[in-house]
Symmetry: C2
Subunit: 219 residues, 2 copies
DNA sequence: AAAAATATTTAAGCTTACTTAAATATTGTT
DNA sequence: AACAATATTTAAGTAAGCTTAAATATTTTT
């Protein structure tokens, strides 16, 4: 399957998972940087290949076959991120950018070699789960967005759901990193802001950030 | 530049280097598995992009710009082969196959990271030289084909110029490996065969093999 | 030096993955 | 419930990278 198809299927998969947007052509188009017309076109083509269910004006839904393909690409993406992060001194944003391309040029055999070399990791450097060779995610995610946390509790960062360079630079600067702990000192519910204490620094985060930083309650 | 263009330019580069075939569209077409017509078409297109000199019915010649592009792709190819060979238990043929794809999806930055990680190696696992970040090959190659060697002398294998699976399997089986030494016991000039002694085994090689196994005279 | 065999080029056409513009349907607002 | 705003779909068209078939040039053989 082509790069365009792999990216399309993956975008639907991720849209359905994370964003509770409904997965209509327009949303996918926006993510992929193509026109709505192109997305509709592609959706119809993929339906004829049995990769997704298409009904005019309805949300797109992957078939089992489409889902499997998406998970295969996601697996390769996250394995590459893990490898590059381990071997080289590269930022989360940079490894993501490289993985976005490498994911399409990787045989299943190579993916398995990478996985084996890394000790079959279950999570990538963002904290995202890595599907196994059968396209299954066996770990269960108990984490919640920082925006959903309670005042006065301690949490461990489990996932940074972003591809944005500036966000990662901000995170790096303030110690917001997979595995680090923080304390939620105040929730400004009206303003949708969250005040946290991390590394003895107090920071105020708005919803753009608190909705993509995932955490687990800590001791 | 597209994958098709990178492969095309690289094929011209390699054809000019190794094979003393003249580099006409038909030869390139054969290597890339496309029609002669497609190769001519592409050659004309690349001439308009200043990547090669095209004159009807004449051999193709890369411009400086084209040469630089080819070396950049070759660099990435050989760095990937080096990395995969080091990290994973993969055959020379397999690493070549993966590198053939990865070479087109690798930023200069990532290439430099790989090079640095490996200690800026000068040769890949086949013994082929790796161009530096400026697209220069600084090593000089003094090796000769096994077919050109003299009876009664000892040589060290410096290069296995092939992508062929069966050839590599044969090599692996008989200890024909980068760095290993062999003794040329007889040259059958009329039959274009070479008899060598390696690991206490005598093997008779025909020209298909002796022309792609490169060696340096050894003590 | 012809003739025959080969190789190259041109021409016409196809598929993929896009684009913009126009038509149509859905959704949100008054 | 009607109107306006928004989203989706259809239609028409483009560029890249191929194909096969036919025309033309080059190379090899006789
Ligand atoms: Mn990523
Ligand atoms: Mn991608
Ligand atoms: Mn190779
Ligand atoms: Mn290639």
């Amino acid at each position: 399957m082509s790069i365009a198809i792999e990216n399309f299927v993956k975008a639907i998969y991720k849209n359905g998972k994370r964003d509770n947007n409904d997965t209509k052509p327009g949303n996918i188009a926006k993510k992929l940087g193509i026109s709505n017309a192109a997305a509709t076109d592609m959706a119809q083509k993929l339906a004829s290949k049995d990769l997704l269910h298409y009904e005019k004006y309805q949300a797109l839904k992957l078939t089992d076959k489409g889902n499997k393909m998406a998970l295969n690409v996601v697996r390769k993406h996250r394995l590459w991120e893990s490898l590059l992060f381990k071997l080289f001194d590269m930022s989360l944003h940079d490894i993501h950018r490289e993985a976005e391309l490498l994911e399409h040029q990787t045989s299943d055999l190579l993916a398995n070699k990478i996985s084996e070399y890394l000790g079959n990791p279950k999570f990538d450097p963002h904290g995202d789960p890595i599907p196994n060779a059968n396209g299954e995610i066996t770990t269960t995610d108990t984490s919640i967005a920082l925006s959903q946390t309670s005042e006065g509790k301690k949490y461990m960062i489990s996932r940074l759901m972003s591809d944005d360079k500036e966000f990662f630079e901000f995170c790096a600067q303030h110690g917001l990193k997979f595995g680090n702990t923080l304390f939620v000192s105040k929730q400004f519910n009206k303003n949708k802001m969250t005040q946290i204490l991390i590394n003895n620094n107090t920071i105020l985060l708005n919803e753009d950030f608190t909705s993509i930083i995932y955490v687990n309650e800590s001791n």
